[in-house]
Structure formats: structure tokens, C-alpha cells
């Protein structure tokens, strides 16, 4: 799949102070730069090198990804939520393209 389409899953509602799991999945070839095509030419590296998550504008999680990460990478992480708000997710490509998505959570 050529176009990066992210999927994010987290609970819609949580209690104050809850630790929740956030699961993310994005379609991406994660071309490692180690492979050659049928003509023997190296296929240039094209991976998502950085994953970042913010909550209400504050960074809560980030990960550097490397060429050995498989295609269509899945990343899950845990966060404690104290207030209602919006998670913002950003996947940064080698070429600088940033794919973004958001998800809301209500804290009762």
C-alpha cells in the first residue's frame, strides 16, 4: 500500500489517573535500503524514522524506528491520563513527510 493510512485504538472513556493502552498501526513499506531490485539496483531506503505522540500538546511518547522494523509497523504504549483531551500522533518519513492523526479521550 503506497499511501500511509494510520489506525489508532484507545478507550473512549477512562477514569482520572487510569493507565491506558494506546495501539497504533500504519501502512508503510518500510523499505530498508538493503534490497536490490531485479536489475540489481539498490532500492533506496524509505522508512518512517520517528513516531511521536502528544497529549494536549505535551509529548508523551516517541520512538526512533530503524531499517529492521517490519512493514506496516505496529506500536503500542501506555500512558496515564489525568484529564480529557486529544492525543496527536505523528509518523515522520525519511523524506520529511509527516502523517498525522488524532484521537480524543474523555476522562470522568
Amino acid at each position: 500500500m503506497a499511501i500511509a493510512t494510520p489506525r489508532v485504538r484507545l478507550p473512549a472513556i477512562a477514569k482520572k489517573g487510569d493507565i491506558i493502552e494506546i495501539k497504533t498501526l500504519i501502512s508503510h513499506d518500510m523499505e530498508s535500503g538493503q534490497r536490490r531490485d531485479s536489475a540489481g539496483v539498490v532500492v533506496p531506503r524509505k522508512i518512517i524514522k520517528l513516531f511521536e505522540a502528544q497529549f494536549n500538546g505535551r509529548p508523551v511518547f516517541s520512538a526512533d524506528w530503524n531499517p529492521s522494523v517490519s512493514a506496516n509497523p505496529y506500536q503500542s504504549f501506555f500512558a496515564r491520563v489525568e484529564e480529557s483531551g486529544t492525543f496527536e500522533f505523528a509518523w515522520t518519513d525519511d523524506d520529511g513527510t509527516v502523517t498525522k492523526t488524532t484521537a480524543k479521550i474523555t476522562v470522568a
Binding site: 500500500m1 503506497a2 493510512t5 489506525r7 485504538r9 495501539k23 498501526l25 500504519i26 501502512s27 513499506d29 518500510m30 517490519s70 512493514a71 506496516n72 505496529y74 503500542s76
Partner: protein, 247 residues
């Protein structure tokens, strides 16, 4: 009496022994299939949901114009390949979608591993997840089924192996480091970690045939359809797992 018992046992044993590829996969791979947010096949399913309501072709119709919501196709994938009265031969689910595209939407047929076809067939397949596979085996399908069964046992390629040599006789044993599965076609299109992507039944069949150094069947060939028909009939009783995850 003993003969009768033995016959009953022989008849019943394939059904009893049926093992989905899921059962042979590692704990991690199974966990990936079980969790819809971790199963990468759902990237294609979501793409399929977008395509479902997009008009295409000269007729300007979308899938939704005729079928409404995708869940109106519930359980359909569990009975394919099915008989097509117009063509007077069995067709696969991919071919059924292509027939819709050509005759109702006025657009082109797609190869099974085209991303649009993968997305649509994953979406349609998902509507039957958990449904027991029941493919008709009588009437006009019988000769095609017999063809499939014959091809399954036909030795071929430089390695001179038949499908049955591995998937019937040596299922559960190892080929290199991997467990040989029984070869049930109950989860296509399927996300294979080896492929790093979703792939059709035809892609899997091609890999096997190339593996035994045989000439692969074309995706629309009578042989490929006959084998898919036979395999789905053989998998009868297992449930549809689309989009399955395999190593």
C-alpha cells in the same frame, strides 16, 4: 463390523484432524490475528470500506449502490468458489467481484493481488469471519471438484511433489524450521509476515508451485479455480478467518 467401523473412522478422520494454519502459528502471530487493531490486514479492510461507497466505472455506481452496507454480504465468502450459471463454471470470490466490476460498474477486472482487489476481497471476506465454510460439492460443481482433487495429488515440477505430499502426508512435520500446515484456504486474503503484506490465495499457490519448481497456474486459469474449490471444500467445517495472519 470392524470394516464398517474402520470405514467410518477413515471417513470421519479428515474432519476430526482438521487444523487451521492458525493452530500451527506462534503465540505472537496468533495474538496479531486476534487483535483487530494489531492485525495489519485491517489496513486493507479500512481501505475497502472507503472504496465500498466510491462510484467507479462508466456506470458511476459504487458497491454500496447495489449491496448497501458490506454486512449484507455476511457469510458469502464461506461458500465460495460457487457455481456461476451464466458462465457455466465455478468462480472464486475475486472473480465474482470482478464480474460485478465489469458488468455492473463498467470498469476493468483486477488481478487478485491488486491493492484495490485485496482491499475489497478482505472487506467481503471479513463479513464471514467466524462462519463455517460450506462449499457445495454436488451438482454441476462435482466434475470441477474432482479436477481439483486430481491436481492436488498430481506430482509436478522438478522436485516431483504434489500438494498432497506435503499438506496431507507430512502436515505437522517440519520443512526447514517451519511447520507444514494442512493447507486450508480459510483465511484469504491473508497477511503473511514473510510477504510483509496482504496476499491472495493465488499468490500463496504460486509460491508453493514455484517452490516445487513447477510452472505456476495463472490466477484466472481453470486449474487455479479447481484447486481453490477443492481446498475450500476440504476446509469445510473450519471457520473463515479473513484477514488471517500467518508466518
Amino acid at each position: 463390523m470392524i470394516r464398517l467401523l474402520l470405514a467410518a473412522l477413515l471417513f470421519a478422520s479428515p474432519a476430526l484432524a482438521q487444523r487451521s494454519g492458525y493452530d500451527d502459528a506462534s503465540v505472537q502471530t496468533r495474538a496479531m490475528q486476534d487483535d483487530d487493531s494489531a492485525n495489519p490486514g485491517f489496513l486493507w479492510v479500512r481501505h475497502g470500506e472507503e472504496l465500498w461507497s466510491q462510484p467507479t466505472g462508466t456506470a458511476g455506481k459504487s458497491c454500496a449502490n447495489c449491496h448497501n452496507a458490506p454486512d449484507t454480504l455476511r457469510n458469502v465468502a464461506a461458500r465460495y468458489p460457487a457455481w456461476d450459471a451464466t458462465l457455466a463454471r465455478p468462480i472464486t470470490l475475486v472473480q465474482r467481484i470482478n464480474r460485478c466490476r465489469e458488468s455492473h460498474q463498467g470498469t476493468t477486472a483486477l488481478a487478485p493481488d491488486n491493492d484495490i482487489m485485496l482491499a475489497l476481497s478482505a472487506l467481503v471476506g471479513l463479513q464471514s469471519r467466524g462462519t463455517k465454510i460450506v462449499v457445495a460439492n454436488d451438482g454441476p460443481l462435482a466434475p470441477f471438484l474432482a479436477d481439483g482433487a486430481r491436481l492436488f495429488r498430481q506430482r509436478q515440477g522438478q522436485l516431483n511433489l504434489s500438494c498432497a505430499n506435503c499438506h496431507d502426508d507430512r502436515a505437522g512435520q517440519r520443512l526447514g524450521g517451519s511447520i507444514i500446515p494442512e493447507g486450508h484456504a480459510n483465511g484469504y486474503p491473508q497477511y503473511r509476515l514473510e510477504w510483509q503484506g496482504l496476499g491472495s490465495f493465488n499468490r500463496r499457490l504460486r509460491s508453493c508451485l514455484i517452490g516445487v519448481r513447477a510452472e505456476p497456474y495463472g490466477p484466472a486459469s481453470a486449474e487455479a479455480v479447481a484447486i481453490e474449490l477443492y481446498l475450500m471444500q476440504r476446509a469445510g467445517g473450519l471457520t473463515v478467518e479473513t484477514p488471517s495472519v500467518r508466518p
